[in-house]
């Protein structure tokens, strides 16, 4: 019986990866949820906005690396991030001007916005691939691990290793900080409140002296910052590849929705729900159980509830169950 090793194995393969993945999803979901909450449509272009912001950052990182600039143990990309954010801000503002503003003036239905954002997705898709190509790009440098599995084993003498990556650490910290900031911003500051007012009743907001275009602009700026940060952190942790950002959209939307659309706390909760359900339900408990039970009764099978083929299906099943009991998500999101 070896609870310590069992626990380490579980942390290494379930808890840490799920928390990190959950934070990544949450950061993406925050952007989606904000657009939905304020501008009231599901932005399909969010994945590609992330890709765009990340791309600018990647290019800047390469530039810095070529110049020999570095942040020591931290990835140089963090230094390039502000530039990525700026680039992304420029992009979203231009798209808003060129595309969305027209439909706002038309008072178009949200579904039109959704489809329009699909069009924007296509275009961004083309632009990003055009600039940086469809391939994987590496831009991570600095210390890869806070603690690697091997070091951990050597340090503790345990059989199981525990790995914790620098990027995972940064992602988790960023997610927590960002959500706190956003929550404070929306609920406590004047600008934040005016954004919520605008989302609630555009005409009345106008009557209260709120400038709609400013609200829209601030929203896009925040979204650009969020998207770039999320995109870069994801790219650092995994790899930068335009196609995966589009694929990331599905779990991101799932997270935003389980959490309750329009609610920043919901986005975080949703990200974790999706991440944990993906990782735990298909987990093979053999290793963990083998450590815990006496040797004679050690399991011969994998002790896997479902094969990993169904991991995506399972996370959606969990999403469905959550929605059946909480029809507007865990945190009572908007259902406008």
């Amino acid at each position: 019986m070896d609870f310590l090793n069992a626990f380490i194995a579980l942390s290494n393969f379930v808890i840490i990866p799920a928390v990190a993945y959950g934070s990544q999803l949450a950061l993406g979901a925050l952007g989606v949820t904000l657009i939905y909450g304020i501008l009231r449509f599901s932005n399909f272009a969010h994945g590609d906005t992330m890709a765009f912001g990340a791309m600018v950052t990647v290019l800047m990182t390469w530039f810095f690396q070529a110049q020999g600039v570095s942040l020591g143990p931290l990835p140089t990309a963090l230094l390039a991030l502000p530039f990525g954010i700026l680039g992304c801000m420029l992009l979203v503002l231009v798209t808003d001007r060129a595309v969305y503003r027209f439909y706002r003036a038309q008072k178009a239905k949200p579904v039109i916005f959704v489809i329009v954002s699909l069009g924007v997705t296509f275009i961004l898709n083309g632009i990003v691939r055009f600039i940086i190509g469809p391939d994987d790009q590496r831009f991570l440098d600095g210390e890869r691990f806070i603690i690697s599995a091997r070091t951990f084993r050597e340090m503790t003498g345990l059989r199981e290793g525990l790995a914790f990556k620098t990027t995972q650490g940064i992602t988790i910290v960023t997610a927590v900080v960002v959500v706190a900031l956003l929550f404070w911003f929306l609920n406590r500051t004047r600008t934040g409140k005016s954004m919520r007012a605008y989302s609630d009743n555009e005409d009345l907001a106008l009557l209260s002296g709120i400038n709609p275009e400013r609200v829209v602009m601030v929203t896009w700026l925040i979204v650009a910052a969020l998207a770039t940060t999320a995109g870069v952190l994801y790219g650092l942790d995994k790899s930068f590849k335009p196609f995966t950002y589009f694929q990331l959209l599905l779990p991101i939307f799932a997270s935003a929705i389980v959490g309750g659309l329009g609610n920043p706390l919901g986005a975080i909760a949703g990200g974790f729900v999706i991440a944990f359900s993906e990782v735990t339900v298909t987990y093979a408990w053999k290793k963990v159980v083998t450590y815990i039970v006496p040797e004679e009764v050690a399991p011969s099978g994998l002790l896997q509830l479902l094969s990993t083929d169904y991991k995506f299906a399972v996370s959606f099943l969990i999403l469905l169950i959550v929605l059946l009991f909480k029809p507007t998500g865990l945190f009572k999101g908007k259902a406008v």
Binding site: A197, D200, E202, D203, L207
Partner: protein, 274 residues
Amino acid sequence: MSSDPYSDRGNKDLSLGNPKGMGTATPVTSGGRAAPAPGGPFLIGEAMTGGYGSGPDILHECTIAVDRGEIAVIVGPNGAGKSTGMKAVFGMLNLRAGHVRLDGEDITALSPQDRVAKGMGFVPQTSNIFTSMTVEENLEMGAFIRTDDIRPTMQQIYDLFPILRDKRWQAAGELSGGQRQQVAVGRALMTQPKVLMLDEPTAGVSPIVMDELFDRIIEVARTGIPILMVEQNARQALEIADKGYVLVQGRNAYTGTGKELLADPEVRKSFLGG
């Protein structure tokens, strides 16, 4: 079923293009320039002609005016164009003819936003609160353009409508019809406007609150702020009105002091319910 029977967004689905908060009027777009136009009452919509979008004219050379310290009341049958007239004065409608002047300044070309900045306050007839925000936040939004301390005003509102104090942390969309109306009026009072426009402020409020409200309106007016309001509780309203307008089919049908209109048997019979 819906847990919120008040939800006026039918299919609780924004994607369905529920027009809530999305009026069909095409407001005057930003950027007009205000030009002085001497004389006249403090706020006047003069010989206004116009309608919604590209539809037919609803207003026909309709004139509404109110002066400092006065209460002007607009009455008339349903669909006469009272609310349309208010919206026109507030710039939420593109006028085809006529002018709007505030304090001698021609503001016909200003957007509603700019008019708010000029100190005009307006409570629309419908969708006049932020349903997803708390009562207190609704009031704060009323004071959005103010930069001074808003707490005293808020206390005054709570004193005026005590029920709102109990409900201050509740989402306004969960209130009863009359309570919502109180929030709407409270929101407008928070603005501390230079001129206040109310579209049926007393619809659905109980007699005791209505009295409080009228009292308050009188008080506000006597501090010098002109008040323009549409009312269906016309007799009570005309009793406190300095000026009354009867609109019929978008035209001025009768104009006079409140007392005069109340005394006119024709007006009483046709518009005030006898």
